[in-house]
Symmetry: none
DNA sequence: AGATATTTGTTCGTATGTATC
DNA sequence: GGATACATACGAACAAATATC
């Protein structure tokens, strides 16, 4: 369990953790991130709080969500690199 | 946006607006009235304030609320008209 | 086709803490 | 101190989309 600070919202702190994992590569592009239910269990938070976490990450553009399926790490920003230019598909 | 007066509670002023809409027929009997979330957005108020609005309308008997669904305009007072007397179901 | 489970979306109910008046 | 108002957070219920059996 993580130690929640009292000077910042929980949904913000959890979102930070997930964001760090994505940056670290723990969750790769296209892969599913923990469901709201998962977040509830892992962080001991309520569903609505977990929902807020995912909404924040979604609005930050680092995940996208499909109802009934879950949320997934957004693909990297292809800034001028045409697909197929890096390696074989 | 509406101009909030400083001499009366916001929840009271918003409740007045919704009540007027119901009287005017903007929201008909049985129809759903704006959710607390809707009120937050339209009037720029907090959820607790929006909740107070709906509670006031509920206690006035002009709406009824179903958890998980929303609030609805109360049916008119049918003084002596049994249900099913108007048409076939 | 139907039932079930999982998951997100949305709604209301409630409690707490903080700030302001 | 009380009333108002905001933000946060937990709980419960209803709904829709998806997948599996």
């Amino acid at each position: 369990m993580i130690e929640f600070r009292h000077d910042r919202p929980r949904w913000e702190q959890v979102a930070e953790v997930i964001r760090e994992r994505i940056v670290a590569g723990t969750y790769r592009p296209g892969a599913r991130v923990p469901s709201e239910n998962d977040l509830m269990q892992e962080f001991g938070i309520a569903r609505m709080t977990a929902h807020k976490v995912m909404r924040a990450l979604r609005e930050a553009g680092i995940v996208y969500t499909v109802r009934g399926l879950g949320s997934f790490v957004s693909p990297p920003e292809e800034a001028g690199a045409p697909e197929g230019s890096s390696s074989a598909e």
